[in-house]
Amino acid sequence: MTATLPSHDQSLALAIEPEAGKRKLSTAKAIQEAISQRMVRDESVFVMGEDVGPYGGIFSSTTGLIDRFGPERVLDTPISESAFIGLGIGAAVEGMRPIVELMFADFFGVCMDQIYNHMAKIHYESGGNVRVPMVLMTAAGGGYGDGTQHSQCLWGTFAHLPGMRVVVPSNPYDAKGLMTAAIDSDDPVVFMFHKGVMGLGWMAKNERSIGAVPEDEYLVPIGKARVAREGTDVTIVTISLSVHHSLDVAEKLESEGISVEVIDLRSLVPLDREAIVRSVSKTGRLIVVDEDYQSFGLSGEVIAVVAEHDPTLLKRASRVCVPDVPIPYARELEYAVLPTPARIEAAVRDAVAI
């Protein structure tokens, strides 16, 4: 059935620069724009999820889409995640390109079978004969007191399970280009936005959650990390909101003569191993900053990449992650477990002391 589907037009410019035009958008608006532009070009793209219609998505990922495209293409669902994520899979198998929102990544518990045993495995099980070109878009992250079941990142859990690309943008430019690439992808893509990078009016935000976004469509290829800042003394490999914190720390320490390179991975799957090795070859010191739980996840994986490549590259490797506790509710505790700028700074100082 779907093996005959033509792949999406990949001829779009990859090279539009973030500064082109200088128009600034929040990450949320950049995501809306990417979806909207693809919906104009491609009738098979539709959006589905809880409160994605008139409400516009709890974190504004779909604001205005229903006004433009109507309730046939922007569908509010019942609170039945297994059913509507499975529906997305089936529609994708038949050649549509669904964008399905799971309101919080934390809610995967009620629907994971559709995600990891179906969405992620059908292509493999069918020997490549059946494609599942869908985007599972979901909100991640804490920092605003929402407690154990509404604050987790969990991208390492998705990335651990083979068969889905896992994309985690940190800024508006990347979010638009990565969402466009995710819609175009013939593979299932889990597109995870941290609430703290969306630039929402009702949540404290880093200024980097609003930035220059070209009006034209463009792709940011999935699987290519970005050197968010060049440096020579220590490499921070990180993702999502932690990129912002790491850049803040790097700027601060520059005046003390500490030169920090910040690598924004942009996706966990595929993982840009080359970018990690390239940077650590230069600095010899590696810090992984990750808002996900520490053990069995991204941070260990990144360090293993370097160790397997050449352990002698490493003068020092450390990580700043959420220790293996659920995200606490009380602010004092939550900020003790999150990878805050203070913890990142301490890790950098510790690394360069060697």
Binding site: E50, S82, Y329, E332
Partner: protein, 337 residues
Amino acid sequence: MTLSTTQALTDEGRRALIGTMVLIRTYEEAIRAVYYADKKPAFDIGAGLVPGEMHLSAGQEPVAAGICAHLTPEDALTATHRPHHLAIAHGVALRPMTAEIFGRETGFGHGRGGHMHLFDPTTHFSCSGIIAEGLPPALGQAFAFKREGSDRVAVAVTGEGAANQGAFHESLNLAALWKLPVVFVVEDNDWGISVPRARSTSVASNADRAAAYGMPGVRVEDNSVEAVYAAAGEAIARARSGGGPTLIEVHTLRLWGHFEGDAEGYRPDLESVQEHDPIPLYRDRLLESGVLTDGQYQAMQASAVEQVEDAIEFAKNSPTPDPLDHLSYVFSEGVNS
């Protein structure tokens, strides 16, 4: 405030019901004030004494009061992301509950849980922020009560939105199959965040779904606390006497937003919603019929304000958790850990 299940509603019972409703509303109004107090001028969800999402229960007091009047602290109750009314009606102590909502060391969970994660072993009360996920544990509590040979019951409460979740249907089937002493209560407040029930649910009444699982289903139409009381009395008596589960759906009212900060632009009935506030409606009925006097009502209000102020003061004056203690409570400590 607990009334015997089989007893017809007395005037004293009616006063107890309105008293519970007043206490709940007083509590929610106070939490609402605290929640917004230090999030000004611009609303920042993470700021202030009480951060995070805040789902308040104003308008749904009749459900909590009518159900919990039949329960003792020995009975279990599982609630949702919108738990305060049920906790209060079930007799959960206000001080540790409020301290938990404030994220203080003296809270039920020492500040680890927060408003959606209140656990009170004394009254067997719990809640969860994941939709419909309070049902399966209630089955287990009912299972344990049945095994111990007692007449204790478990009540699981969800919203009508939750009735479209797999766990809801799995739980109904298993409870009926094993004749567990559990009562399912659906609070139909017409909305699942911004989605009206007509656009989420294939049947007009969730009570109709009970038939599919071989259990009685009742729909209480008008947010009347006395009608809830009657339906719950029958269902709980049936569960206590070994007759198995019942599904009750109450057509109730979400007086405020889904969570605080929700502008409710999607809601066409916003103008008229206050007219259906169940508390003045019930109060006036009781006043007119002579069951309640103005003096008694004022005394109820004064008592509620006193209890709520005490709880809020307690919470405010309680210590915050020690950040160095952030690794505690993941596992038990002691001989068997």
